[in-house]
Amino acid sequence: MDSSQFVTPGFGLVFWTAITFIFLLLILKKFAWKPILGAVSEREESIKSALAQAEEAKKEMQNLQADNERILKEARVERDGMLKEAREIKDSIITEAKEQAKVEADKMVKAAQATIESEKKAAVADIKNQVANLSVEIAEKVIKEQLSDKSKQLKLVDDLLGDIKLN
C-alpha cells in the first residue's frame, strides 16, 4: 500500500464534493444567509437610526434651549429699554408739569400783584375819597366850630389833623 494515495484526490469525491457544495451554497444562500444577514443588518440599521434620532433630538433640544435663552435675553433688554423710556417719559412729564406749574404760578402771582396793585389803587383812591370826605366833614365841623369859637376851631383842626394818620 503506497502512501501516495493519501495525496491523490479521488475523482468520485471531488465530483460529489463539488456538486454537494454548490447545492449547499445555493440552498443556504437563499434560505439561511439572506434572511439571517438581512435581519442582522436590518436590526443594526434600526439601532443606528434610533441613535441618530436620539442625537438629533438632543441637538434640537439644545437649539431650543439656546432659543429660549436668546428670547429671554431679548425680553430682558426690551424690558430694560421700556423701563428706561418710561423713566424718561416720567421725568419729562414731571419737568413739563413743573414748568407749567411755575408759569401758572407766575401768572397767578402776577395776577395777584396786579389785583393787589389795583386794590391798593382803589384803596388809595378810596382813602383819598374818605380823606376828601373827612376833609370836607372836618372843614364842615371847623367851619361850624369857627362859627362859635375861633380858637376852638383851630384846636379842632389841629386835633383832627393829629388823628389822621396817613398811610
Binding site: L13, L24, L25, I36, L37
Partner: protein, 407 residues
Amino acid sequence: MLNCGVVKGCKKSFEILFVNSFNVLTFAPNFKGGIFNRIGMKFISFRFLLLVLLFSCFNMAALAQHHESEVAENFEEKEAEFNPQDMITHHVLDAHEFHIVDWNNHPITLPLPVILWTNDGLVTFMSSEFHHDDFGSVVVEKDGKKFVKLHEKIYQLDEGATSVSFDAEHHPVNASKPYDISITRNVFMMWISVLVLILLFTAAARRYKKSSDNVPTGIAGFIEPLVVFVRDEIGIPMIGEHKYKKYMPYLLTIFFFIWINNIFGLIPILNGANLSGNIAFTFTLAMFTFLITTFSGNKNYWKHIFWMPGVPVPMKIFLMPIEIIGMFVKPISLMIRLFANITAGHIIVLALMSLIFIFKSVFIAPVSVGFSLFIGVIEIIVTAIQAYIFTVLSALYFGMATEEEHH
C-alpha cells in the same frame, strides 16, 4: 443587542466556540438561558445522542450481516496479524462501505451504493456485494462486466479474465479503473453534514421571520454570533466594507461546511469518516476559492501579477513568474493545510491506540487513552481553527483580488 455578551465571548476565545460545537450536535431546541451555564446538561445529551447513533447504526448494519459468512474464514486469517499502518490507512482513507464495528470477527458495516462509469455506461450495485473483500478476491459480475475491489479501489476486469492477477509490485495487470463516483462513506457523511447544516440554519432563519423585531430567539441566538463572527472578523476586515457582501454566502458556507465535517471526523462511532482530511475534499474547496479569486480579480490585481507597479523594469520581469506561481500556490497551500492538519490528528490518535495492540498489553492502555484524550482536546480546537483559517485566507485572497489601486 441581546446577544452582545455571547458575541464578544465567541470573538474572544476559540475554546468557547468549541464548547458550543457540542451544542450544534445536540440540536438543543431552546437556548434562551445562557449557553454556558447549561454545558453540563448539554454533555449529557451529547452522550445520549452518541448512544442513539450507535444503536441506529447497528440496526442499519444488520441488513449487511447475512452476506458475511462465506468470507469469514478468509478474513480471520488476514486479520490475525495486526498491522497498524493498514489500520490507520483504512481509517484515514475513503471506503466504499461504512464499517461500524467487528462482532465475533464479523465486520458489521453499512453498505453504500457503488456507482461506476464504465466505457459502456453507468453500472451500480451495493458495496455489500464485495462481502467486505478488499484484496480483489471477490468478483462481482454486473451487466456482463466483472469488478473487484482492491485497497478500496474498484477495478474492472479485462474482457475474458475471471480473476485479477498481479505484477511483481502488486499492481493488477488485467484490470482497468472505471470512473468511480460511488457514494463512499465520505460522501455519505458529507450529505449528513449538509442535512444538519441546512436544518440548523434554516431553523435559525425561520426564527427571524417569525419575530417582528428581528430579535434572535432560540436557535438563532446561538447561530447569530457565529454568523456575525464570520462577517465582522473575517468578511469585513479581509475584503473591505464595500465589497464583502458579495462573498458572505461563500465564506459562511465554507466555514460551517469545513467546521462541521471536522467535527464529524472526530466522532469515533462515525469511524473516522475523514472527509475534511481527504485531499479530494480540500482540493475541491480550494479550487472554488481559486476560481472565485481568479474571476473576481480586477485590473489592479492582474497588474500586480504581471507588471508589478512601483519597481524597476528588470524587477517587474523577475517578479512576474513568482507572482504567477503564487497565484496557484495560494489555493494549493489552502488544500494541503486543511488536509494535513486533519489527517495528522487522526493518524496520531489512531497510532496512539495502536500501541495497545503492538505491545499486546492492556497496561499500555492508560497511556494511549491519556495521550489520545489530550490530542483529542487539541483536535477539537483544531476543528474550528482550521475552518477559520481556510475561511480567513479565502477572504484574504478575495480581498486582494478586489483591492482598488491606492498608491
